[in-house]
Symmetry: C2
Subunit: 386 residues, 2 copies
């Protein structure tokens, strides 16, 4: 048996082990509170589902243009103009993909040669380094600190750049930290002479007056990753997109024709509805309000219990809490909590060595379940410290 070395280097997610063990516990009759999940607990908005149903009934079950349905790509251009003031985006710069994951494959394989480096934050989303490894590139991890809101230290970035460094990954609002990157920081990062890879999948999920900025507000030398999974609760419809610089349009089109043919026709109609139907905007507003309520509750309770939350997370649906007061080994702590308190949480180590000592709590679950989960954790940690 031979396995490609680059593929063999792809690491499994620990959160999947947590989930599998949680499901085993459930099968044996235990009630488990899921605070480890990375997807909205809401169903897709009614109008979105109805648009998908219309597309099916209309027989829109054929391949679309390889870049995606033109109206959808135009709507995305409008969305970036209205939301971020980005003018002059060409619909051909938008590539609709089956979820955001293939969008990463496109950009990583386009920009990174084997041996090239990409700067990633530690902690950070666990898939990024695996996309890098998949194309033979080298993830160059930079420690980001709790005290800095888990943002890059610009001096450290400058020092890390070599002649093989091609890109830097940003993710604001961030998974796992829920932190938002400020405009000054984005501007400084766009001035580094690297390609900015900006994962904007949690845009729109911001609270307490916070605002997430698009990389496109600061530079054209960027690839923007976005999609409908998180903001519109459409994970299962698998629809994402990438915005590529104009100079890459022709190459990317050819690449996508070959590698993916086209994205799902029905989901594209659903996504178009998500972007253009005011009813959906109202649904999203409601969801954001509910997330915010949970967020406030969760942050307050986690602090009460004794977790460290140095800087208020204002985006996505995660709190990345310092648990080192209770246990330095986040893997052990997450599994102890699962086995003994029957609450699923994600160990910080899943997001990089510098995530050690932290736990990621997701508030993509109902307030009642969050209350119950945190009550159980408090009780468990109370007994533990006796």
């Amino acid at each position: 048996m031979t396995i490609n070395r680059q593929v063999a280097e792809i690491r499994p997610f620990i959160v999947m082990d947590v989930l599998e063990r949680a499901q085993e516990l459930e099968r044996t009759g235990h009630d488990v509170v899921h605070l480890e999940v990375g997807e909205p607990d809401f169903d897709a908005p009614e109008a979105v589902k109805e648009a998908a149903i219309r597309a099916l009934r209309n027989g829109e079950t054929h391949y679309t243009h390889s870049l995606g349905i033109l109206e959808l790509r135009e709507a995305i251009c409008d969305f970036y103009e209205v939301t971020y003031g980005i003018k002059g985006l060409d619909p051909d710069q938008i590539v609709i993909t089956s979820g955001t994951s293939p969008a990463f494959i496109v950009a990583f394989s386009l920009i990174l040669e084997p041996g090239d480096e990409i700067i990633l934050s530690d902690p950070g989303y666990a898939c990024y380094p695996n996309f890098a490894r998949f194309v033979g590139a080298i993830p160059r991890f930079l420690v980001v600190k709790e005290i800095d809101g888990f943002q890059y230290d610009l001096e450290r970035v400058r020092t890390a750049i070599t002649n093989r460094t091609k890109a830097i990954m940003i993710n604001s609002p961030s998974n796992p930290t829920g932190q938002i990157t400020e405009p000054d920081q984005l501007r400084a990062l766009s001035d580094m002479g690297l390609w900015l890879f900006s994962d904007e999948i949690y845009h729109g999920l911001v609270y307490n007056g916070a605002r997430a900025h698009s990389a496109l507000e600061f530079t054209d030398r960027c690839f923007v990753f976005n999609g409908f999974s998180k903001l519109y609760a459409m994970t299962g419809l698998r629809l994402g997109y990438i915005i590529v610089p104009k100079m890459f349009v022709k190459t990317v089109k050819c690449m996508v024709q070959n590698l993916f043919i086209s994205a799902n026709s029905v989901s594209q109609r659903a996504a178009y509805e998500a972007l253009t139907n005011p009813e959906v905007s109202q649904d999203v507003e409601r969801m954001v309000q509910i997330y915010d309520e949970r967020r406030r509750f969760m942050v307050r309770r986690l602090k009460e219990i004794g977790f460290g939350v140095v800087k208020e997370p204002k985006g996505a649906f995660y709190v990345f809490a310092n648990a080192s007061r209770f246990e330095k080994n986040s893997y052990k702590l997450a599994f102890d909590i699962l086995e003994k308190a029957h609450v699923g949480v994600t160990p910080g180590i899943d997001f990089g060595p510098n995530g050690e000592g932290f736990l990621r709590f997701s508030y993509a679950n109902s307030l009642d379940r969050i209350k119950e989960g945190l009550r159980r954790i408090e009780e468990f940690l109370g007994e533990k410290s006796l």
Copy 2:
């Protein structure tokens, strides 16, 4: 600007140029007959669409298991047992993907290291070499001859194998030739000590008593690619799958979690219906009958017009006809036919240098349109020869 060398090597499809020019002609008021298309003209079966609608209404809009919904994977195991007598397939060997394209990414990147070789037929489906190039591997083209029904010459295969040759691609029924590979040939190819990559996407679309065999009937050392796009007319729903050898299950699961997360939840329910609802089987039978009627007509008429069809194509929905009597340059001929007769056909050169002198005619269009298209071509070629 830097573009990864492997990506830069991906070639565009000529058929896309044909299609774009055809659409331009249509925009300026011309009626174009499309015989260049590679997708069913039928809509997805009613029961399939209704299953998708039920899934949407039931709120099945969330991520599924990364390998796909278990019932669907079980149904695929049953399908391979009932259809081909393959026993003992484990649902974990089945990976559901967004169309068959990501399935190619999985297998090619798993088995081929940069510099490794894969044997491909010339002519053959134009995407295969691009998947190879994408992972840095080298496509090793072997000429397959019209007189041999475009099947590999086994002696030539043996001679071509080097210590870098890892896999051989088979595609039966074949795009572009519509030919079916016989069991003896499949057995011989499975004895070559290589991985068999068997693209079975046109299985079920067979006529006149022909039968397509699965690679799994002959060897476990194979990756099977299949999906719902062609047989069930579900191209836009983007649902495919790969069957991987047991020894790769763990690696592939980790890879898919990272690279794709999961396939579309709604399309998976639609696919499950396609495999299990007897109404859909009846729809498929009807479609196959209609394809067969068109096929007989097209082959007869092409021969009448003067094209060479040496061996009757009995699968897929293509006739790969020898046009060298009229014009050796297939690109020129295809564009002449498009510009002057307003019929879209695919030049043989799109499928490899040895496809030169041929045209691929698709019968995924109504009998009336096929009649009209061939009438125009006959007229055009008649005038041309004056």
